[in-house]
Structure formats: C-alpha cells, structure tokens
C-alpha cells in the first residue's frame, strides 16, 4: 500500500506545474508529445528534466478536461504523430494560471528576499 501512495503524491506534486508548462508550450502552435517535452527542456535550459513518462498522463488529463485537442498528423519526416493544440478554453485557463503563477512567484520572492525590497 505504502509505495502506491507515494507514487500518487509525486504526480499530484507535479501536476499543476507540468500542466501549465504544457499549455504554455502549446501557445506557440500544435506540437506532439515528444516535441512538448523537448520544448520544456530546451526553454528551461535543461533545468527542468521532465520525466517523459509523466508527460503522457498529463496530456491525457488535459485532453479530458477539454483544455487541449489532439489530432493525428504527419511529421516533417513523414511519420504519424499525435499533435496537441490549445482549445479556447485552454487559452483562458492558461491566462489565469499564468497570472496566478506570477502572483505566487512574486509572493515567494518577497518572502525569500525581503532585503532587496
């Protein structure tokens, strides 16, 4: 029992942030799973090492919530891949998530570096 609980905790910990990162990445246009993972890694300058395994559950979750759409398309290398795309609803959620995130970062920053203020 114990191991199972720990596992689920980890997903929950990542959930909010990872979801936001995915939405954010899709803002630039449709992308497939691998591309999303790559984009997160690259734009965070390799700091955020997304375990790819957790990417797919997150994608499915977002799709279920109606924040993103999926569509099978051909890649430039003529391979079939599932491309994800923001829905209007996803865009709205991303906007609120972003402002929430910003507020949180500011708040944390104020706590962490009170002197600079």
């Amino acid at each position: 029992m114990a191991s199972e609980e720990r596992y689920q905790n980890r997903i929950e910990l990542l959930q909010g942030t990872l979801d936001m990162l995915i939405l954010r990445t899709l803002q630039w246009g449709p992308e497939h799973g691998h591309g999303i993972g790559l984009a997160i890694r690259n734009s965070s300058e390799d700091v955020l090492q997304v375990e790819h395994g957790s990417l797919y559950p997150a994608l499915h979750r977002l799709r279920k919530q109606g924040l993103i759409d999926a569509e099978w398309k051909m890649t430039e290398n003529k391979q079939r891949a599932r491309y994800y795309r923001l829905t209007p609803k996803g865009k709205k959620v991303l906007a609120t998530e972003e402002s929430r995130w910003n507020r949180m970062v500011e708040a944390i920053a104020r706590v962490m570096r009170p002197a600079t203020k």
């Binding site: 029992m1 191991s3 199972e4 596992y7 997903i11 497939h32 799973g33 691998h34 591309g35 993972g37 790559l38 375990e51 790819h52 395994g53 957790s54 797919y56 559950p57 499915h60 979750r61 279920k64 099978w72 391979q79 079939r80 891949a81 599932r82």
Partner: protein, 868 residues
C-alpha cells in the same frame, strides 16, 4: 454518447497510446543518434528517460474513466481462468456455496413470505383480532353479549365483526358434502378489505334475523361445485337443507383469519336469546390515527365495565388485542426463526470452508503473486484481483443457490401434507425480492471469505516468500486457518446438538402413549344441520340411529361419537364444582375440559374404565343427569375419595347437576405433546351437541369401511355429509407434523454441517501435512517412528477438534434455550444429546485427520531430500 461506445474506444485508445509512445521513443532515440550516440545506447537512454513505460500506460489508462470497469472485466476474465485451472477447488467451493446459499435463500423465502411480507389486502397493519382474556391470561373465543357491547361501546375501531366456523352441508345436486363454512356478521369483508370477485358480500340487511338466506362462495368451491360459471349469481344452493341465494364469489387467495372456509353466510344473531357460551372469533379495523395501544386502553376500560355489569360471566375476564399478522403467524414464528438461524450457521460453515480453501490456495499462489508484484503489478491491483475471485465464486454460487431455491421451494411447499400447520403457505414465493436478498447474501459471503486471503497477503512479506522458494507457511495464516476450522467444528456441534435435541424430542413425542389404541380407528367429523335437528331429542336420536346401523356393519367392531375429536388440537372447556362442598366464589371455581360422547366411546377408543360404569341405555334424556370423570378430574375433585355416586354442578350450557357414574383412564386428547387435562364426559343422549364426530373401530384395514359408513349415514339423512374423514393415525401424524418437519430439517442441516466440518478439518490437516512433508521426511530420516508421526498429526487434528467441540458445547449451552419452546420433554441441556454429539463429532474429526496422518507416515525421506 452511446453506452457501448467505450467497448470500441478502449482498443482504439489503447492502440493510439501505444503508437504515440513508440513515436516518442523513436524521436528521442533519433535525437540521440543525431548527437552521435550509438544506436543501442540511444534507445536505452531514451527508455531510461521515459521512466516506467507500463506505469505511464496504466496511469494514462486510469484517466480514461471507464477503465475501472474495464479493469474489473479483465480481473473477472483472469479470475475465471484461475477458477477453471483449479477444477477440484472450484467444484468443492461452488457446491458448498450453492447448497449453503440455496438453503438459506429457501428458508428466507419462507420466513419472508410468512413472517415479514404484509398481508395482501389494504392496510393490513390496522386489522386486529379481539379475544376475551381468560382469568389465566389465555385468549378465549368471545361471547355474543360481550361482542355486541364491544361493537357498540368502543371508540377505536371502524367496525368489529364476529365470525364462527361451522361446517355447512351442501346438498341438492350431487353427493351431499360437508364443507368448512363460516358465519359472519356484516362488515366482516370490509374489515378485511376484501372485495368479491363478482357479485356482492354480506351486508347489514342480510344479517338481520328473518332476512332471506344468502351465501357467498369461495373461489375454490365456485370452481369445484359450479365449474367457475359466471351465471351462479341468483342461483340457489341448499345449505344445511335451506335454499340460499348465491350473492357473490370471493377471489382466490381470500382467507378467513385462522380458519379454512369455503362458504360464507350471515351470522344473524338471535338477539332475543343470545346464549352465554363463548364461541366467536372477531376481527376489527382500527380507525385512522388510532394506535393499537390506544385501542387496547379503550377495550380494557370496556372490559372492566362489563366485568362489573355481568360478573357471573365476566368477573376477572378481559380483552386481548392481537395484530392479525401476529395471530396468523402464531407459533410458527419461533420454528421458522430457529430454522433460519440453523441454515445461516450452515452457510457460515460453508463460507469458513471456502475461506480455508482459498487460504490454502493463497499460500500455494504466493509465488505467483510475488512474481506478479515484482513485475510491477500494484499491490492494490492484486488485492482487487483476490476480491474479484471471491466475489465471482460467491455470486456464481449464489445464483446457482437461487436457482436451487426457485426450483426447490415450490416442490417442498407442495409436498407438505394437507393441513400442515404453516400459515400463509400459499403466499410462499421465490421472486425478485428474494433474488435481491440472495445477491446481497452472496456478496456478503464473498467479502467474508475473500477477506482472509487478502489479510494473509497483506501480512505476508512478499520478498520473503520468494527467498523461501514459496514453501514457507507463515504463522499468521496458519492461525487463521486453525481458527476457521475451530469455528466450523463449533458451529457444527451447535447445529448437531440442536438437531439431536429436536430428534430426541420428536422420538419421545412419537413414542408417547396417547392412552388409547390408534390403529384401525376411523373418524368422521360432521355437524348436524341445526335447522333439521333444532332440539335435543332429534339430535340425540339421529346419532343413535347412525351408530346402530354402523355397529351392525360386518367390518366394524365398535362405534361411538364425540363432539371434539382427540388429536385435533383442542377441546371444549367448562367450569364445575362439587355439590357436597360450599359453592365457590365467582371466579374461584375449578374446571377442565369437557367432552360429549355416545356410549361405548371408551370401548371403541380402547380407554380403560377404572371405576363405575360407562354410559348406557339407562341414560336417556329424561333420566337423571350423569357424568364420567377421567383420572385427572377425579384426582382434582376427589383426591382421597371414590367419586362414583357423588354429585357435581357443571356450567356447560344449562346442564342440570350430574351424578358421577364412572372414572376412566387419562388420554392425551389435545395432542401428543399436551399432558392430559381434567376432563368431564357427558352423554350425548342427554346433552346432544350439533358437532358430533363419529369414531369407528374396524376389524381390519379401515379404508374399505369408509364407503359403507357413509352409505349408512345417508340412509338416515340424505342431506348429511362428513367434512373430514381421517384415520386416527392420520390425525395423530398431523398433530405432530410440525415437530417432525422441524426435526427432519434440523437433522438435514446438522448432517450437512457435520460433513462440511469434516471436510474442513480434513483439508486443513492434509494441507498442513503437505506443507510439512519435508519436515516429516527429515524426522523419518533421523529415525522417528512412523507411529510417532501419525500421533503428531492426529494430535494436531484432535487439538483443533477438541477446541471446536468445546466452543460448540459452550455455544449450545447458551443458545439452545431458544429451542425450549419447540422441544417436548427434553431439556435444552440434555446431557445424553450433548455427550453423544461430542462423541460423534470427535469420531468424525478423527476420521477426517486419519487419512492425512497416514499419508504423513508414508513420506519417503529420500524423495523429499532429493527435491531440494
């Protein structure tokens, strides 16, 4: 979305997820190859980066929502596979469950239909029966005066109706027959909420004295006598010689409370001369909003008034209110509940057995579980799997059990002898409500026996068992198994003791000497048509003429009559006192049962005359009134004197003072299980009764005599029928039918419990031997004698059996007192039963252990050691 959509979606989603993940890995690998890694290491690190692929798939699948269902389906498929792999295990478990759940379902359907289901008319809970309460507290039928006053003075009931069961002679077309009839006051049908099938029921106008005679038919009589023709309304039927107009037919299933009736006629009380005898049953319907207890208070106040107004009749008498359902169910309640309890214990034993089998298999499967776990199956998933397997077993067993009950209950109910004392037996049905119960029960069973393997798995340390090569048997699981077996044996002891007590009780009852000779004795129950025989001389004469003719028949050795036959569950009662002593105060008198008989009754029955003489030709209507006492009455009234020649006063409807002319031996008149009561006998020639059953002692087989006797009766009176013709042996068997069925059913349950408990101990001991084969082998190799191994195993088994028997005896000592109302002449702690049951169980347990113990001694040390 269409409900079946997920079936197609599932495989598609699955495929797409696979493809997506494959694509991801190949992209990732390509990326690394482009960076210059070798193909092999690129793929490896791509996989590493990804993490656990299976888990990603599972977590993703979890999010599809319907996977819980889909996973359950998968588990069920797997469970079916596992169950099919272990045919022997599955067959044993299913058989035990089918029997256990089937028997419980069957018993429950009876309990539900008889005790719980509301009766089939509107607002049955508002219908009660009103009884007069004897000074002793017992219920008594009601007097006309009291009924009329109750009806007039109460403020609690919409209406009260009186009714009286009287056989009705039907004649006219065809054979004269006597059918059970009932006379009712108006309002009777309304109180019971019963509408006629067609026509109308008895109204107030029909109930007035002098109103044209009318009759309502039961559905059964309508079918039998009139072939179900709808033109019967307005036709005349001769009831007791009087043509009555048929005004209505009641629907099938309409029942008169605590009576059987085929014909309903108006009561038509003769208000000018109501009589003081107590004869009537009454039903009443509570007014809306009036509770039973409020009605009770109301009636007690009325009874107190009446006791003051008419102390000669009502001093110390009162009223009892009994809800109709309670009245109908009567004393079958305790029987049914005891049997349901017994069958539930059988089911519990069956479940404990299955739990044990599962535990043993669980131990054997520990390796499988460990491997599956090591391969990444979630622990929760495995528990899920175990529970699904248990539920699959229990629900399959439950469905088969339901089928068994569905098929078996009607067969059993139909095979009950006519007149078997089970009320509402026509309503017993195994229907969807019972199916709900069965399913609930099955799931409860599945959870019950499924919980043990789960518990065991939770406690076992998985990696340990891998290391041990799966041979290990943890102490905890062994403890559970032993506890289960001890419980099983304990329950079996309890049940077999219950069965033993009932069996012993029944045998004692069966062997009880009724005080007269049962064989070759024919009885004809009849009622003399009151309109034809309105007065005493005519009633006395017709019985005498019939008896004269019957006695003359060649196959008849003796014949007589009595107004209430023995072994039919009751007798008339009255009060009497000695005339040579001061008149007792009102309510302080003595009394007992009373029988009106023709002469030679004692000779016909085979009852010894102890003193004085039998009634004879001297005892005519105008001769001095005489009476005979039985031994109990003689001892009650004349403890140290000879009663013959003494004079007594009797209350029995206007009987003059009587002189005692004889004393006879006691018989068990009311039933084999009822001690003889003090009884006074009056001669039919002097106090002729309308109820008069003939008793005929035949020289050989009674069957051929029936027609001849009927023929003689019809020659005297073509309208006269007999409504029940039975041999005394049949009547006696009928009177002990319930104890017999109780003992039989308990016996069956006890036997099943015994077998299950033996299987249980056998399985546990064999398993333990199997598990310890290696230990035995080493012991034998080190020089242990086979006998000592045998003893060791037997000791283990007997230890379990001893614990179970002890637990069972303690439980029995505590619980069997609930049986005491069902037992006759046997105490619930009967030592003989307890001792013999303990011995039987011990012997059975020993047999259960012996075979595995023998096997243990035959272990070949060489083979065992080589297996390492």
């Amino acid at each position: 979305m269409r409900p079946w959509h997920w079936l197609f979606r599932r495989s598609q989603e699955e495929r797409e997820l696979d493809e997506e993940l494959r694509f991801h890995l190949s992209e990732e690998a390509q990326l690394r190859i482009d960076r210059g890694e070798s193909r092999e290491s690129a793929w490896r690190s791509a996989r590493q980066d990804f993490g656990n692929i299976t888990s990603a798939q599972e977590v993703t699948r979890d999010m599809w929502g319907w996977t819980a269902l889909e996973r359950a389906a998968q588990d069920v498929r797997f469970a079916v596979r596992m169950l099919r792999k272990n045919v022997a295990f599955t067959a044993v478990a299913l058989a035990a469950l089918t029997l256990g759940i089937g028997a419980t379902t069957a018993m429950f359907s009876v309990v539900y239909s008889v005790l719980l289901k509301p009766m089939t008319f509107p607002e049955p809970e508002r219908v009660v029966m009103l009884w007069e309460r004897q000074p002793s507290g017992r219920n008594n039928v009601v007097q006309t005066h009291n009924f009329l006053d109750w009806r007039q003075r109460n403020r609690s009931f919409l209406n009260i109706a009186a009714y009286l069961g009287v056989p009705a002679n039907l004649s006219g077309d065809g054979d004269p027959v006597q059918v059970p009839g009932v006379r009712v006051t108006s309002g009777f049908f309304e109180i019971l909420g019963a509408a006629p099938l067609f026509g109308r029921t008895i109204q107030a106008a029909d109930d007035a004295v002098g109103a044209p005679p009318v009759a309502v038919l039961s559905a059964g009589l309508w079918q039998r006598r009139f072939g179900g023709r709808t033109d019967v309304l307005g036709q005349k039927i001769r009831v007791n010689g009087v043509p009555c107009e048929i005004i209505g037919v009641m629907p099938a299933g309409f029942e008169v409370p605590s009576l059987a009736a085929d014909l309903y006629t108006p009561m038509q009380f003769d208000l000018a001369n109501p009589g003081r005898g107590r004869n009537y049953r009454t039903v009443a319907r509570l007014k809306p909003g009036v509770s039973t207890s409020a009605a009770d208070a109301d009636m007690q106040a009325i009874a107190a008034q009446l006791a003051q107004e008419r102390p000669e009749d009502d001093y110390r008498w009162g009223v009892n209110i009994v809800p109709l359902l309670e009245q109908t169910v009567g004393d079958s309640r305790s029987t049914l509940l005891v049997l349901l309890g017994a069958v539930a214990f059988v089911l519990l034993i069956a479940c404990a057995n299955v739990a044990n089998l599962l535990l043993m298999r669980g131990s054997a499967r520990r390796r499988e579980m460990t491997v599956r776990m090591a391969l990444g199956a979630g622990r929760w998933r495995l528990l899920h799997q175990l529970i699904i397997e248990s539920l699959l077993l229990s629900v399959s067993g439950g469905l088969m059990g339901f089928a068994l009950a569905w098929w078996g209950v009607p067969v059993i109910v139909n095979s009950l002898p006519a007149g078997f004392p089970l009320p509402r037996s026509g309503e017993i049905a195994v229907d969807y409500r019972i199916l709900g119960f069965t399913l609930f029960l099955s799931i409860a069973c599945g959870v019950f026996f499924g919980i043990f393997p789960v518990w065991q798995m939770n406690r076992a340390r998985m990696n340990d068992s891998l290391r041990q090569g799966g041979r290990g048997q943890t102490a905890s699981s062994r403890g559970i198994r032993n506890a289960l077996v001890v419980t099983e044996i304990g329950l079996a002891v309890l049940l077999v003791i219950g069965a033993g007590l009932m069996l012993r009780s029944f045998l004692l009852l069966h062997q009880t000497d009724p005080g007269f000779r049962l064989e070759h004795l024919l009885t004809f129950r009849m009622l003399l048509v009151p309109s034809k025989y309105p007065d005493a001389p005519r009633r006395a004469a017709v019985v005498e003429q019939m008896l004269d003719r019957i006695r003359a028949l060649p196959l008849v050795s003796s014949a007589s009559s009595i107004h209430v036959l023995p072994m039919t569950g009751g007798n008339s009662g009255t009060g009497y006192y000695r005339l040579d002593r001061p008149t007792p105060a009102i309510g302080a008198g003595t009394g007992g049962e009373i029988s009106v008989i023709s002469d030679r009754y004692f000779q016909t029955m085979g009852i010894p005359l102890l003193a004085g003489r039998d009634f004879d030709a001297r005892d005519r209507l105008n001769a001095p009134a005489v009476a005979i006492l039985n031994k109990s009455a003689a001892r009650q009234m004349y403890p140290d004197e000879n009663p013959v020649g003494k004079r007594m006063n009797v209350f029995w409807s206007g009987t003059p003072d009587v002189e005692i002319v004889g004393v006879v031996a006691d018989i068990r008149h009311d039933g084999l299980n009822v001690e003889p009561s003090p009884t006074m006998f009056l001669p039919n020639a002097q106090r002729p009764n309308s109820f008069n059953s003939l008793v005929v002692r035949t020289k050989g087989d009674p069957a051929p005599v029936v027609a001849a006797v009927k023929e003689q009766m019809h020659q005297i009176d073509p309208d006269q029928g007999a409504f029940e013709i039975r041999t005394m042996e049949q009547l006696t068997a009928q009177s002990i039918a319930r104890p017999k069925v109780q003992a039989t059913l308990m016996g069956v349950f006890g036997l099943v419990a015994l077998v299950l408990a033996c299987v249980g101990i056998y399985a546990v001991v064999s398993y333990s031997v199997e598990q310890r084969t290696r230990e035995m082998g080493i012991r034998l190799a080190l020089g242990a004698a086979p006998l000592s191994i045998l003893q060791m195993v037997l000791r283990e088994g007997l230890f379990l059996a001893g614990g179970g028997i002890l637990a069972g005896l303690l439980a029995a000592a505590g619980l069997t007192r609930y049986l005491s109302t069902l037992l006759y002449a046997v105490r619930p702690t009967d030592t003989l039963v307890y001792a013999s049951v303990s011995a039987t169980l011990a012997a059975a347990a020993l047999a259960g252990c012996y075979f595995p113990a023998r096997r243990a001694t035959r272990v070949d040390p060489a083979v065992v050691l080589r297996e390492e």
